[in-house]
């Protein structure tokens, strides 16, 4: 059992990092703050005793930031990297959509009756996860994999510009 104080500290750091991602104008700094936000989420998973999910969060999200930065550097067309992550002119529309989305999520979270399970976390959660993913949910799992593969092939074709 971890004290709730730890959660609040981690949550605070995560939110500050997320704000920094949006508000900084240097693309590289934004991407680096994104790592802090992802690590914060991973620690939240650890507090929930979901070790496997925390490791996945690190390997898939935090580890991949390096690639994001490389693309950011290579695809930025502005001469000055310090002004590469600016706001666009849709502040009003963007703000309204975000507020609407947030209102929806908050009402859903508040209205749902959360079932609280006090049973201990199984010692071998990885095995159970594998059995569910490759057993009961094998078709959604495979469809997601296919989708990613299609996206990958599509990206390569767009990048290489098929010529006939």
């Amino acid at each position: 059992m971890v004290s709730p104080l730890v959660f609040w500290i981690v949550a605070g750091i995560t939110i500050i990092a997320a704000l920094a991602v949006v508000n900084l104008t240097n693309l590289i700094h934004s991407a680096l703050w994104l790592i802090v936000a992802f690590v914060g989420v991973a620690i939240t998973y650890l507090i929930l005793e979901a070790e496997f999910l925390a490791a996945v969060q690190i390997i898939v999200y935090a580890g991949a930031i390096a690639i994001l930065i490389v693309f950011g550097v290579m695809l930025t067309r502005r001469g000055d990297i310090r002004e590469s992550n600016l706001f666009n002119n849709y502040r009003l529309a963007g703000g309204l959509i975000s507020l609407g989305l947030m209102a929806t999520i908050v009402t859903m979270v508040v209205k749902t009756q959360w079932a609280i399970d006090v049973a201990a976390v199984p010692a071998n959660s990885v095995g159970l996860l594998a059995q569910n993913l490759l057993g009961q949910f094998v078709i959604p799992f495979e469809i997601a994999a296919m989708l990613l593969l299609v996206a990958l092939v599509g990206a390569i074709i767009i990048a290489k510009e098929v010529r006939d």
Binding site: H29, E51, I67, I69, V73
Partner: protein, 348 residues
């Protein structure tokens, strides 16, 4: 002798509990003790690994190597460390200051964190996580970021090129490395380090998974950015890659991280393929150190044997050879396991 370190740890724990500290505080202090022990082990070894590498390379090239400072040059690297302490810390004017400074510190974080799951001996794992080997993979996947931060923060064309190369290389070679570990995990049926060790009581996994071992050896050499895969540094083309602008202690930290990573990767290889800390006659922790040094010896032997390969060859070799091979290894291991199970069910 066998339980020397386990007893020390137990005595410390008993002493702290006897002082009337709450269990939470005792755990925290013990974690700190483990961390300090790991740091001491790593730093001591790194200093002499540099010496070992210089001596080995010298013998391979029919030279003598360092031999002036102390008997047989034994104090050479110690004095080198002192020299680096005394150097001026230069930060280029045009550098991205925070990124530049942080990179040198962050490069050590994954390197040290990996040791949390290394079994230094029987019952000598700092934390025996049930996702042990996956934790190692996750932590070492973040090592790329520090190199890229160094390359970017320096604001130097060679450094940036080196950083970009690091990303291309380390992200690509992570894949065959993880897939080769998967073969071992399939045989052991667990991600927990102690289970994998126990599964090798009778036969080491290097015998059952020779292909996986070779893939791991090649891929981890690339992950360590060592010759023949040292393109990110490539002295002749990029000066020193991401570290070009670093000096003094910050440079030393990158150097330290490289050797720390080498110990970590060797330790994981010794645990997963060479039976971990098990062996006759000698205490288990001594066996472990011997096996780790055998692995380190192989990496050094690689370094002074093969010439550096070209960047496009490096990536083609990975994506067109190593990745398919490691996938095939996983497939064959799975089929082999099923056949083995089927054989066991037959009553002869």
């Amino acid at each position: 002798m066998e339980n020397l370190f386990v007893n020390i740890s137990g005595a410390l724990r008993g002493w702290f509990t006897g002082m009337g500290l709450p269990p939470m505080a005792v755990e925290a202090i013990m974690a700190l003790v483990f961390l300090v022990a790991i740091l001491a082990f790593v730093l001591l070894n790194v200093v002499y690994l540099v010496y070992l590498e210089r001596k080995l390379s010298a013998y391979m090239q029919q030279r003598l190597g360092p031999n002036r400072v102390g008997p047989r040059g034994l104090f050479q690297t110690l004095l080198d460390v002192l020299k680096l302490f005394g150097k001026e810390d230069i930060i280029p004017n045009a550098a991205d200051r925070w990124v530049f400074r942080l990179a040198a510190i962050l490069v050590m974080v994954p390197a040290i964190m990996a040791f949390a799951v290394v079994p230094f001996g029987q019952g000598m794992i700092a934390v025996d996580l049930n996702i042990g080997i996956f934790y190692f993979v996750a932590v070492s996947s973040t090592a790329t970021i520090a190199f890229l931060m160094a390359g970017w923060g320096s604001n130097n064309k060679w450094a940036l090129l080196g950083g970009m190369r690091t990303v291309a290389q380390m992200v690509s070679y992570e894949l065959p490395m993880v897939l080769s570990l998967l073969g071992v995990v399939m045989l052991a049926g667990s991600l927990r380090i102690s289970d994998i060790m126990a599964a090798q009581k009778t036969v080491w996994f290097v015998v059952l998974q020779p292909v996986a071992f070779l893939i791991y050896l090649v891929a981890s050499t690339a992950e360590l950015n060592r010759q023949p895969f040292d393109l990110p540094e490539g002295e002749q083309e990029l000066t020193a890659g991401p570290f070009t602008e670093y000096s003094g202690m910050r440079y030393a930290l990158f150097f330290l991280a490289e050797y720390t990573n080498m110990i970590a990767v060797s330790a994981i290889a010794a645990t997963l393929f060479l039976g971990g800390p098990q062996g006759p006659w000698l205490p288990s922790w001594l066996w472990f150190v011997i096996k780790v040094y055998v692995m380190i010896g192989i990496y050094m032997w690689f370094r002074w044997t093969f010439p550096r390969i070209r960047m496009d060859h490096l990536l083609a070799f990975n994506w067109k050879f190593l990745v398919p091979l490691s996938l095939a290894n996983v497939l064959v291991t799975g089929i082999g396991l099923e056949i083995y199970k089927w054989f066991q069910t037959i009553r002869w």
